[in-house]
């Protein structure tokens, strides 16, 4: 059973740094499999937190040394080139343990802070969310997985034929590439989705399948189990039902929310031993396939 939890900076600034570090250490000890750098409201809604997650991730991943660490980010305000670049580096420096969670919820404060041009009618938000994901992935695909050679003797650093411009053009984003960062060890960092988030916007869901999804039992029932890790959202009150649903194969693990989430994860881990950590990257450990690279031009051997 996979266990997931979110981590956020405390609203009390004086001790916020020490508390965040201690919280991370405790979650590492507890044996969580996924840690979302996100703000979780009392109602269980996930939003980007006060502390920018993409910069925080490489720092906190030293303390969270084993789980997949997931950056929540505002989906319609982030820029594909910047995100692709930062998460490539983060995936390398964590040996392939990075996930990203583009969110629509919590977007209002980003609308105000980014400027009027970023304000979209609800119907366009899912379309821009999807376009953001496609553009970012296209930039990761501007490099083949095996482009780097690093041979000092021959002087070959990389294979020029394995890096190219992708000239991505979508309804909201256009980006040429190539990215100035290699394809991440996981190919693409794990795409994590809160099913309550995208579906909640105007009823129409994202057209792009995610690697890891979070949601209630109803929402998870609509997800193809193969090739997706399904995490059931639970609180202390719904924990037992949740364990039963995982036992019945309706979910692959639990995302635990609420004020005592760490205690719940600690207790769950005592009952459900962790799957052995094997495989080079998180994607491999979770049994998820490497994403195909549509831009790759494999030369026949």
């Amino acid at each position: 059973m996979y266990l997931s939890i979110s981590i956020d900076v405390s609203p009390r600034d004086g001790a916020a740094f020490a508390q965040l570090a201690q919280q991370a250490d405790r979650i590492e000890q507890a044996g969580a499999d996924f840690v979302l750098l996100a703000h979780e409201t009392g109602a269980g809604t996930l939003e980007p937190g006060r502390l920018e997650a993409v910069v925080t991730l490489p720092w906190i991943a030293r303390r969270l040394a084993t789980p997949v660490v997931v950056a929540a980010l505002p989906a319609v305000h982030s820029v594909p080139f910047h995100i692709a670049r930062a998460l490539s580096a983060a995936d390398f420096l964590t040996a392939g343990r990075v996930g990203w969670l583009p969110l629509l919820q919590g977007g209002a404060r980003f609308d105000a802070a980014y400027g009027d041009a970023y304000h979209l009618p609800p119907g366009d938000r899912v379309a821009k969310h999807d376009d953001f994901i496609r553009a970012t992935r296209a930039l990761w695909d501007s490099w083949d997985q095996d482009a780097l050679i690093l041979n000092k003797d021959s002087g070959a650093y990389l294979d020029s034929a394995k890096v190219r411009r992708v000239d991505y053009r979508g309804p909201f984003f256009a980006t040429m590439g190539p990215l100035n960062a290699a394809r991440p060890p996981q190919g693409h960092p794990l795409l994590v989705r809160d099913l309550d988030d995208v579906a909640g916007d105007d009823g129409a869901g994202s057209a792009i399948p995610a690697d890891v999804v979070l949601g209630g039992a109803d929402r998870l029932a609509g997800v193809e189990a193969r090739g997706t890790v399904r995490l059931l959202k639970v609180t202390a009150a719904t924990l037992e039902q949740g364990e039963a649903l995982v036992r019945d194969g309706k979910a692959d693990g639990l995302h635990v929310a609420g004020p005592d989430a760490i205690e719940r994860v600690e207790a769950l881990r005592r009952r459900h031993t962790r799957r052995p950590v094997t495989g080079a990257t998180a994607r491999a450990r979770l049994g998820l396939a490497m994403p195909a690279n549509p831009y790759s031009k494999k030369v026949p051997a």
Partner: protein
């Protein structure tokens, strides 16, 4: 605080695998390690133990792919600077962490949020090397057809810094008298700032590298530390005097800004050995690598041309991605001297980016640095190891103790924040 900090400040510019284009092929270079966390943790501790003010990483908003061909022999491990510095923050407690970020293809909200996070995870050690984007291919990555005109880039840069400062001030609960103007003007239409967690040193230290008159004015107006190339003492003094004069004209105290020229270096026990190492690292940049290197500076794929012929200037200028008149000015001397493409490219790759290069013993390097400081040519140096990590290790092991013995470099940090290390005082 200034006296205890020492008269000489050190910054470490640790881009890629070091300064020389062929350096990645050196026996002691580690081109694979720059993709690993342990490498950054180790060099961060090394630099902090040697009492540098700060570590700096550069940045670009485009891949290297002149005319659509990515070089195969040039090392290009350009990992995101925020990511590297956030990793380094986790294993250090004093050394400053300076990220290069452009004001051209970003929004103040995003940049303010990222620096607030870097400043938070480092507890007050973030710095921002403010740049504008000039590479002709960068706009294509952001759905823009072409670059902003140059003076508009600097006008936007100043407005961008003012807007970001309004975000940080409001998050820290500091007075922000001009916030309304900073957030709504010809460049930005910002209705509300973001609520960041606060940390010591409410905003990053502002760093600049202005060269043109517009760039120098921008630096004199905002920067707490300034990078520049300075090949000679006279060039250094002229630059420093000029910046100080511009700062005074703007009503700023010039003693509140450090001038930090670049200094690349190769070290060895004897001068002969250092010269041999220098020759070797230049040889490792073979003709093909040097041709790729110059191709990247003009946006034209020279690898397709016969290397033993001179530049076909008209053909290149008609198709290059950089402004044709700049490229023509750059290549004409080689054409007039009758140099082949290979010879011209080799000359170009020998002196990357116009920075001063020191080759010699630790004692000689300490002498040189002391002479420059005594002559008023700078406040310290932005050091660029010839290749990584071994040249940095040599500096920290052999030059740092000499500088400390001479009373030029601090033995202990005087405070926890980057601004403490600069002794540049609290920003007004």
């Amino acid at each position: 605080m200034s006296r205890e900090n020492g008269r000489l400040h050190l910054w470490a510019f640790l881009q890629g695998i070091g300064f020389f284009p062929g350096g990645w092929r050196e026996e002691k270079a580690t081109p694979d390690a720059v993709f690993q966390r342990s490498y950054y943790e180790r060099i961060a501790r090394l630099v902090e133990d040697a009492r540098f003010d700060a570590i700096v990483f550069g940045d670009q908003l485009q891949g290297r792919d002149a005319a659509g061909r990515t070089p195969g022999r040039l090392a290009i491990p350009t990992l995101d600077p925020f990511t590297l510095l956030a990793v380094m923050a986790g294993v250090t407690s004093r050394v400053g962490l300076v990220a290069t970020v452009s004001t051209t293809y970003n929004e103040p909200a995003e940049v303010a949020a990222k620096f607030a996070a870097l400043n938070f995870v480092s507890q007050g050690r973030a710095g921002w090397n403010i740049v504008t984007t000039v590479h002709p291919n960068s706009p294509w990555n952001f759905g823009e057809p072409e670059l902003l005109e140059k003076s508009a880039r600097y006008a936007r840069a100043q407005a961008f810094v003012d807007a970001a400062d309004a975000f940080w001030r409001q998050a820290a609960g500091l007075p922000a008298a001009n916030a309304a103007d900073a957030l709504r003007n010809q460049w930005f239409d910002i209705a509300g700032t973001l609520d960041f967690p606060t940390s010591p040193q409410y905003r990053p230290v502002l760093v600049q590298a202005g060269q043109s008159p517009d760039g120098r004015n921008f630096a004199a107006q905002s920067a707490e530390a300034i990078f520049c190339p300075a090949p000679t003492i006279d060039a250094g003094r002229a630059y420093r005097d000029d910046i100080h004069e511009r700062a005074r004209a703007l009503g700023r105290d010039p003693s509140k800004m450090l001038i930090m020229p670049g200094l690349a270096f190769i070290l060895a026990d004897t001068e002969e050995e250092a010269q041999r190492k220098h020759r070797h690292v230049l040889e490792l940049a073979d003709d093909q690598l040097c041709i790729e290197y110059l191709s990247e500076s003009i946006g034209y794929d020279l690898t397709r041309l016969p290397a033993n012929q001179p530049f076909p200037l008209d053909e290149i200028c008609a198709a290059c991605e950089f402004p044709a008149e700049d490229v023509r000015r750059m290549l004409t001397p080689a054409v007039e001297a009758g140099l082949s493409i290979a010879d011209a490219c080799r000359d170009y790759a020998r002196k990357p980016r116009g920075h001063a290069i020191f080759v010699g013993t630790p004692e000689q390097m300490a002498d040189r640095m002391e002479t420059w400081i005594d002559a008023g040519a700078c406040d310290g140096f932005t050091l660029q190891p010839g290749y990584m990590p071994s040249e940095l290790e040599l500096f920290c092991a052999h030059v740092t103790p000499l500088l400390q013995r001479r009373g030029l470099l601090r033995r202990e940090y005087q405070g926890p924040t980057l601004r403490d290390h600069l002794a540049a005082g609290s920003p007004a």
